[in-house]
């Protein structure tokens, strides 16, 4: 009888441990999912820069001599400080993009659009112009 009780307790502990692992992995997956859904992507092709967040893509005219964005330095609710490589310049230079006037011109509510964005990354397609 004692052995049986011990066996039942052991099974119970194993089940709890198993569920805890599942729960923890769900929580971490959820964090990854939320992070991916809070990330916006900056890229450029030809003379246009694209800022993409979820299913919305904002495209705007950019500098003629821009070769490539290299690093996001700071994201401040619509104001992006970015390092970019420009034609004829040996080193990457700091550049600034203010999305708020662009969003206003496009009749997009800046507060509503920018609020869920927690992070901005640079993302180029394989076939993007360099």
């Amino acid at each position: 009888m004692l052995c049986y009780n011990l066996f039942i307790e052991l099974v119970g502990v194993l089940i709890v441990l198993q569920y805890r692992e599942v729960f923890n992995s769900d929580v971490s997956n959820m964090k990854i999912y939320n992070k991916a859904h809070a990330t916006a992507y900056l890229s450029h092709k030809g003379r246009y820069t694209t800022f993409a967040f979820q299913d919305k893509r904002i495209t705007f005219l950019t500098s003629k001599i821009l070769e490539r964005y290299t690093k996001i330095l700071n994201w401040d609710n619509g104001y992006i400080e970015v390092l970019c490589k420009k034609q004829g310049k040996p080193q990457a230079e700091e550049d600034y993009i203010d999305l708020i006037p662009i969003l206003k011109n496009l009749y997009i509510d800046p507060l509503k659009f920018l609020k869920p964005i927690k992070e901005v990354k640079i993302k180029y397609d394989r076939n993007a112009e360099i």
């Binding site: 919305k56 893509r57 904002i58 495209t59 705007f60 005219l61 011109n105 496009l106 009749y107 997009i108």
Partner: protein, 79 residues
Amino acid sequence: MTEMQKFKVAQEAKIIVSGYAFVTKDDIITIVNLNKSDAHTCVINGRGEVLETCMDPIEQVIALKIWKENKEFLEEEIA
């Protein structure tokens, strides 16, 4: 885009063709698709060069085609 905003755009628009409203200010033309619930807008200059947009490329082509066909009605009348 709220119904109120759409109403305001429709009132400001110089012409509306196939649900696309054309609002002009100086040399800048803002094209707004009034058929969509969210913002589908394209800002172009007088030469038809896209300056800012949140339309997809196919919709841009449609909007620019409508603009080309009707741009004579957007020009300022000379008294």
